[in-house]
């Protein structure tokens, strides 16, 4: 075991001050990626700042036409929330399908977004729903937030505080999970709402979550699974690994997109 400092602040300002002081400090939002990485010795931050006691980062609220979820809200809380079920029911399904019960009770929406794993589920939902990510410094539109593999617009000492979703007319998510990890081999989120039709794909792209604009155009004309017939993404931009090659993933994107539309229409 190697030594590192551990702090458990109770406000966002305290947490931000700790990040500013200790260079290389990492935030612990749920620890479902950070802790395994530290156990493997692939990261050894000198300071871990645990956000579990920061009450202002929790909670799920509906305000007029938006659903607002605190950054430290766990996947299980989103999955079981009556407020989410009555506003964006598809988001309950997204949270319900992440990892396993352990991951869902520890992992948080803010942690998932800050990590931006290219096979995580939330980035697709947040991008398709055109959500706004609030931090201790500013607000960031989903389109500007995700910047490729594990890369976001966040600065080193910036903390996600909440995510605000415009409530859509329709939203659906379908994923083909890796049978071992439950990460998305391919996951597609489809939303129809004030921002028009948006389709976001996770797990498939070489550079993380992306929008499938051809599919958006087709679904704007007709929001039905059949509208996607014959529309596929470019396999040369898809990821290849031991679990599936690029052509397979490209094929799955269309299949999952059709299922997502079906789920959204139901």
């Amino acid at each position: 075991m190697y030594a590192f400092d551990y702090q458990r602040p109770s406000t966002v300002n305290e947490a931000a001050a700790l990040l500013a002081n200790g260079s290389g400090a990492k935030l612990l939002a749920g620890g479902q990626t950070l802790i395994p990485t530290m156990k493997q010795r692939l990261a050894s931050p000198p300071l871990v700042v645990d956000l579990r006691d920061v009450a202002e980062l929790r909670g799920i609220d509906r305000t007029n036409d938006r659903l607002v979820i605190g950054a430290m809200t766990t996947h299980a809380q989103v999955a079981e929330s009556a407020v989410v079920a009555s506003t964006i029911p598809g988001l309950c399904n997204v949270a319900e399908g992440i990892g396993d019960p352990h991951v869902r009770h520890r992992g948080t929406i803010g942690g998932s977004l800050a990590n931006n794993d290219p096979a995580a589920d939330y980035p697709a939902a947040v991008l398709a729903l055109a959500a706004t990510i609030y931090t201790n410094k500013r607000e960031i539109a989903a389109d500007d937030f995700f910047q490729g593999l594990f890369t976001t617009a966040l600065e080193e000492d910036e903390i996600i505080t909440r995510v605000s979703f415009p409530i859509p007319e329709r939203f659906g998510y379908a994923k083909f999970p890796n049978p071992a990890s439950r990460y998305a081999m391919v996951g597609v989120a489809v939303a129809k709402g004030p921002q028009g039709v948006r389709v976001a794909v996770t797990g498939a792209g070489q550079n993380g979550v992306f929008r499938a604009t051809d599919m958006e155009a087709a679904l704007t004309n007709a929001f039905t699974p059949d509208a996607l017939k014959g529309i596929s993404v470019d396999p040369s931009l898809m990821n290849s690994d031991i679990h599936g090659d690029a052509n397979y993933r490209a094929h799955l994107v269309t299949v999952m997109a059709r299922r997502a539309v079906q789920a959204a229409a139901a």
Binding site: T33, L42, G148, L149, S181, S240, D241, I242, H243, D245
Partner: protein, 168 residues
Amino acid sequence: MAVNMSGEVILAADRERVWAMLNDPEVLKVCIPGCETFELDGENTFQAVARVKIGPVNARFKGKVTLSDIDAPNSYKISGEGEGGIAGFAKGGATVRLEPAEDGGTRLIYDVEANVGGKIAQLGSRLINSVAKKNADTFFAKFAEAVGGGTVVATNVDEAGTAAGEGS
């Protein structure tokens, strides 16, 4: 697990200049993603330290870089072997070829064969290809900038290479 990659870049400088820059430790240091030091350590050998920072992973690799099969200003082979302590190891090489291109530019053609092992390969098996491609693209974008302009024509990651590799 094995990673095979190849690609082409058109650079806006003549072959002699590109060759000189490919042999300049200062230029390589600036272009290699995460490179902290890159120092001459003997004839055609260098000591390098690079930090691999991908998402939660933050590990430092120390290694030796060797240039061989030198045919100035046409081609060389650059090989490296890095140790990241408990994080794992990476070793591999790239054949780099230079050909004159239109308008006094230079076409750079590379072929990479690398092996990644240890925990970093285990944890990263679903991501190594994407990360390798991203790093190659970053390197050549910076290199093109250093020589005064250029365009990446193609970056191919060979799927057969990974299918043959060990999984986790």
